[in-house]
């Protein structure tokens, strides 16, 4: 089942006249992990932001449950944001350094729900436990947390509204490889448990390969190749994809290096 259907999406930055997203079409199906891969500056984050209306677009439509998000009134969009969430790349920049962890998560609950203070506290504990942390984190400040723990808070925050779709915008690229594996495990577990759909953005094809069902390869605002993970990794058709694959340090389990 199609969860989101994006049609001819186009985004040009008015000042620089750079067209970051140049008329793309794609669908995201319920329950899948769709990978979006490409180099810095190819427009993958702009595309993600456009879908959630975090930036204005010039043309196109994004259908969610038969309604175009891009034409939706603000009030209704706000309601829908509960279902469509995002996890940002940099867990250092995306948490307010002056707010305690409890308040960071509570803020979301205050905006998107009208549950009582006690219910909020219980919900915060539940969310923290869901991401492998616990009640002891409520009073802590972001700077007291490691990068991996901070990203877990980012994930807890995006889960607070009970979403069905999450954009993961390079959620692990600023973390150590060992911590990356922990966070990927967490994302896979949460997906299963909460029946989530992900758009997973990364420049690391190894990460994309290990987690995605389908993959979109993006270059200069356009899609150069779309296919199942097997197609992209075992039988890529486009030269740019092959180039990316060649640059990726892929470690085969049985031998040191491919």
């Amino acid at each position: 089942m199609e969860l989101l259907k994006v049609h001819n999406l186009k985004k040009t930055f008015p000042k620089t006249k750079v067209t970051a997203v140049d008329g793309v079409d794609f669908s995201i199906f319920k329950g899948e992990v769709l990978g979006l891969v490409g180099e810095s500056g190819c427009g993958k984050s702009t595309l993600a932001r456009s879908i959630l209306r975090l930036t204005d677009v010039q043309e196109g439509s994004v259908f969610y449950k038969e309604e175009d998000l891009l034409k939706m009134p603000q009030g209704k969009m706000r309601e829908i944001r509960k279902s469509l969430q995002v996890i940002f790349q940099d867990p250092y920049m995306s948490l307010d350094p002056r707010m305690r962890i409890g308040s960071i998560i509570e803020e979301v609950l205050l905006i998107h729900s009208d549950i009582s203070k006690i219910e909020r506290k219980n919900k915060i504990i539940e969310l923290l436990e869901m991401v492998g942390l616990g009640e002891s984190y409520i009073q802590r400040l972001p700077r007291e947390l490691s990068g991996g723990e901070r990203q877990r808070i980012g994930i807890a925050r995006s889960l607070a509204t009970g979403p069905e779709f999450i954009i993961c915008d390079e959620p692990i690229s600023s973390l150590d490889i060992s911590i990356q594996a922990q966070i990927l495990n967490l994302l896979l577990d949460l997906k299963k448990k909460n029946n989530l759909t992900y758009l997973f953005i990364s420049h690391d094809l190894g990460v994309i390969a290990s987690i995605c069902d389908r993959v979109i390869v993006m270059q200069s605002g356009r899609f150069v190749e779309t296919g199942s993970c097997e197609e992209i990794f075992k039988a890529s058709k486009h030269e740019y994809t092959r180039q990316l694959l060649k640059s990726t340090l892929i470690c085969n389990y049985n031998s040191i290096i491919v």
């Binding site: 180099e39 640059s247 340090l249 085969n252």
Partner: protein, 327 residues
Amino acid sequence: MTMLLEIRDLKVNYNVDGHPIEVVRGLDLGIKKGECIGLVGESGCGKTTVGLSITRLIPEQKGGIASGRILLEDRDILSLDSEGLRKIRGKRISYVFQEPFSSLNPVFTIYEQLKEALPKEVDARQSIPEALNNVGLGNIVGKEKLYPHELSGGMQQRVMIAMAIISRPDLLILDEPTTALDVTVQSQILELIMGLKNRMDLAILFISHDLRIIFKFADRVNVMYAGRIVEVGPKEKIFSHRAHPYTRGLVDSIPSFEHRKKRFNAIEGRTPSFSDLPKGCKFHPRCKFRVDSCTGREPDLQELSSGHFSRCIRAKELMSNGAIKST
């Protein structure tokens, strides 16, 4: 082959709230001429501190080297005065840091910064174009008014490498040189570095958290945990045996197509704080192969085969049976 650099029982303290905390806890490491040595471990294991110790770049207010020896061909770097250090830094040993944009000075031109790295008696008009050509920046030769912000991240890192090799050092320390860069740029920079290594017969200490890079480029691999080496050996042996559970965890964390859609056999938890290290083996609280005696005394490095050492009491079991039961 003779050792170019040898670190013996290095101990480094950092001052935390007025108390010295040991962050490098007796570390041995050797680098032969022309060899690429990988130093791998998670953030906060002390690997950057080792790099900084070699060039004596640890800020005094932060802490200092408590004991040990760092021999550069029989001369102890730790006994040098500032004049002696000046003769080694940049000339015998160079350093490339993780983030090129914060390593370059934004208010000076690229040419001015390259020139600064040269000894006075060397002709800059000849050396700078040569160095730029060497790092694949032939297109900016002659552009003397160029500032760092006019270059991309990859080009900036090439400039940093040009600066590092311009005085033809024997040893290059690379501290996560490509972590801040895109995959394609990353592979270009890594290829450049390996080309230079072969052409200039450079020895390299490659510091990274990413075993993929280390396995691709290093001859020998040192795995570091909580301020000490826990496994060291030729990369083939490290990869095929993984004679320390920590190495195992790092290898199991590598994402790949072959391993897709499965949960990673990841290392749980986080690196311990140096002010509160566990008793015995420092890895035991996160270890899947832990037994009771792991909490006793911290194991020594034991030699398993020629040049291959592990600091785990179950190393032989791990090696003889790849899939011994985890506890």
